[in-house]
Symmetry: C2
Subunit: 341 residues, 2 copies
C-alpha cells in the first residue's frame, strides 16, 4: 500500500534513503553535521520524492510559524503595493512567509484581522499607522507578539515605527507652495479619523500656514476617502466658491489625480489657473499631465527595513528602535507660482 495521495514525509525520504528520519532532518537543517555520502543519498531521495517539509509540523515543534502578518488598509490602490512587495521579498529572504489582509480602512475589521493572524500563528505583525484602540496594544502585549508600525514615523508611540514624518513632509511641501506666493489654499485630505497619516499631513499644512504668518482661515479643507472620483468631487467643491484657492494640496496622489482630472474637465489650466500637489509619488503621479509635484516616499526601503526589523524582533525578542526615513519633494509641473492677478 504505497502512499497515494498525501505529500511525502520525512519518513518516506528516510526509508528511501535507508537512513533514519533524524538524519534526513539533519541533512536539511544542519547539513554540516552529516557526512557527505549520506547527505548525497538523502538529497537525491528528497529530490526524487519531491519532498517538502510539512509546515504545520515544523511550526508546532519550533513554536514558530515563520509567518509575519500584515494588515493594510487597502490592496486596491498602489499606495501600499510597492512597499508591501518589498516587505514580502525581504521576508522571503529570511525564510518567512507573509500573510496579508486588508481592513478596508475599517478599525473593527482591522481588529478582527489581527486576531485571526495571531491565531494562525503569525510570529509578528506589521500594522499601518498608529491610530487604534488601546485594547489592541494590550492584546499584543499580553501575547508577546512583536509588532511594528509602518507608513508613519512617530517617535513616542506604543509600537516602534519605521516610516516617515508625514507632518514634516507636508509641512515642507506647503512651505514650497506658500513660497510661490499662494495665499488661498485648499486641502483635499483623507479621512483623518482613525488615520494618523492623514491627520498628520493636514497638521503639517496647518503648521506651515501658521509658520508663514498666513491666516489659518485661508485654508479650506475637505475630507474624503482615497478614490480618484472623490478627489474630483472635492476639487469641484473647493473651486466653486467665491474666492477659490489658488493651490490645492492633496492627501495623496490618487486624490490629486482626481483633482487634476476635474480641473481639466472644468477647463482650468494647471498650474496656471490652479496648482495641485500630491503625496506618495506612486506611478500615477508621473503618468498624469502635468506630472504631479508630490512627496516621494521611499516605499521599497520602508518595506524591506520593516521586514528586517520585524524578523529581528521575532528572533531576538527585542524591541526594535524606530527609524525615520526621509522623504523629498518631487518636482512635477502641477505646481506653479500664484497667479498675481
Amino acid at each position: 500500500m504505497s502512499k497515494l495521495k498525501s505529500a511525502p514525509t520525512l519518513d518516506d525520504v528516510a526509508r528511501r534513503a535507508g537512513v533514519s528520519t533524524a538524519t534526513v532532518s539533519r541533512c536539511l537543517n544542519t547539513p554540516e553535521r552529516v557526512v557527505e555520502a549520506t547527505r548525497k543519498k538523502v538529497l537525491s531521495a528528497v529530490e526524487a520524492l519531491g519532498y517538502t517539509p510539512n509546515f504545520a509540523a515544523r511550526a508546532m515543534v519550533a513554536k514558530r510559524a515563520y509567518t509575519i502578518g500584515a494588515i493594510i488598509p487597502t490592496m486596491e490602490n498602489a499606495i501600499f503595493a510597492r512597499g508591501l512587495q518589498a516587505f514580502q521579498e525581504a521576508l522571503h529572504l529570511h525564510g518567512y512567509t507573509l500573510l496579508v489582509s486588508s481592513s478596508a480602512y475599517k478599525p473593527e475589521i482591522e481588529e478582527e484581522q489581527i486576531r485571526t493572524l495571531v491565531a494562525r500563528g503569525a510570529d509578528g505583525l506589521l500594522l499601518i499607522g498608529h491610530d487604534r484602540a488601546p485594547r489592541i496594544y494590550e492584546y499584543l502585549e499580553r501575547l508577546k507578539i512583536p509588532a511594528l508600525v509602518a507608513w508613519s514615523f512617530v517617535s513616542e508611540s506604543y509600537l516602534p515605527s519605521i516610516g516617515f514624518d508625514n507632518r514634516k513632509a507636508m509641512f515642507e511641501l506647503t512651505e514650497r507652495v506658500v513660497g510661490l506666493g499662494h495665499t488661498r489654499l485648499g486641502m483635499i485630505s483623507g479621512i483623518t479619523h482613525g488615520n494618523d497619516r492623514a491627520r498628520l499631513r493636514l497638521e503639517g499644512v496647518r503648521d506651515a500656514i501658521q509658520a508663514n504668518g498666513l491666516n489659518p482661515e485661508t485654508l479650506q479643507v475637505v475630507e474624503t476617502t482615497y478614490e480618484i472620483e472623490n478627489g474630483a468631487e472635492a476639487f469641484s467643491g473647493l473651486m466653486s466658491q467665491q474666492r477659490p484657492p489658488s493651490a490645492i494640496l492633496c492627501g495623496n496622489d490618487v486624490l490629486a489625480a482626481g483633482a487634476l482630472r476635474r480641473a481639466q474637465d472644468m477647463g482650468l489650466r494647471v498650474p496656471e489657473d490652479v496648482s495641485i500637489t500630491g503625496f506618495d509619488d506612486i506611478e500615477l503621479a508621473r503618468i498624469v499631465r502635468p506630472a504631479l509635484t508630490t512627496v516621494h516616499v521611499p516605499h521599497r526601503e520602508m518595506g524591506s527595513k520593516a521586514a528586517l526589523a520585524l524578523v529581528e524582533m521575532v528572533e531576538q525578542k527585542t524591541r526594535t528602535s524606530a527609524q525615520r526615513l526621509e522623504t523629498h519633494i518631487v518636482e512635477g509641473q502641477s505646481l506653479g507660482p500664484a497667479n498675481s492677478g
Copy 2:
C-alpha cells in the same frame, strides 16, 4: 512553576475546568455533543485563560489548513489587485485565509512558490493563466491539491478555469478598430512566452486581421514587460517607422498609458493622429486623457467566483466546472476613425 510565556494550551484549559482535553476539544468543535454544565465550565476556563487553539497543531491533525494560496505575477500594478481583493473577501467569508505571493512573472519562482504554499498547508491554489511546466500539474495532481486558473478561460485545459476569453475579447476590440478603417496596426504586447493571456490577446488581433481580409503583414508587434515606461518605448519604436501604424493595440492598460503618454510627448494627437487601445479597464484607463478605449474585465466577479469554486473543490473534493465570464468594450476617446489622409 506556572506557564509564563507561552500561550495556554488545551491541556491548561482542561486542567482548569477539571475535564479531559478531549472534552475541551469537543466543546470547541462539536458543542452539541457535550452536556450544558460541562460546556459552561469549559467555556469559562477558555475565557479566563484567553485560550486560542494552536493553529499548527490543528492543521497537522486535520490535514487541512483552511488556507488558500494564490500566486500572482505581480502585486505592483493594479491588474490583479481588484480581483485579488474580491477573492480574499470571499474566502474570508468562508473561513479561509488567503496566502499570496507574487512570482514577478518568472516561471521558476512561481514553481517554488507553489511548493512553498503547498508545504505551508494550502488546501487549494489559485494560479494565473495556463502556461506552466507539466511537472507542476503532475505535482498538484499527485498531491491532490485542488487548483484553479483565473484570468484566462480556456475550455480544454489541465486545470479548470474561471476567467474570460482573452482571444475573443481582443478579437472583438480589433474588429472595432478595423471597422473604423485602420489598416496599419501595431500591437504592444506583453511577453507571450509563458503567458497565455498575452499570447491569446495577440492571437485575437491576428485572427481579426485575417477575418477582415487584411494582410497579416500590416501588423507590427513589439513584446515587452508590463511597465508604463516600456509601453512608451515600444510606442516610439513603432511610430518611428516609415509608415507607422494608425492604431496601436496594447496588451493592457499599463502599456497603453505609456504609449499614450509618449504619443503626447511626441506631439501626436490621440486619436486624430494615432489611436491607442488598452485592456483590463483598470482605474488608470479612466484617468488618462483621452480616456482609454479598453476591454472591461469583471475582476471582482472573477475573484469572488474563483473563491467560491475553490472552496467547493477543497471541501467536496470535486473538480469544479470552468466558467467563462463576459468582457465588453469600454468606450473611451483614445480610439477614433482612421485618418483618411
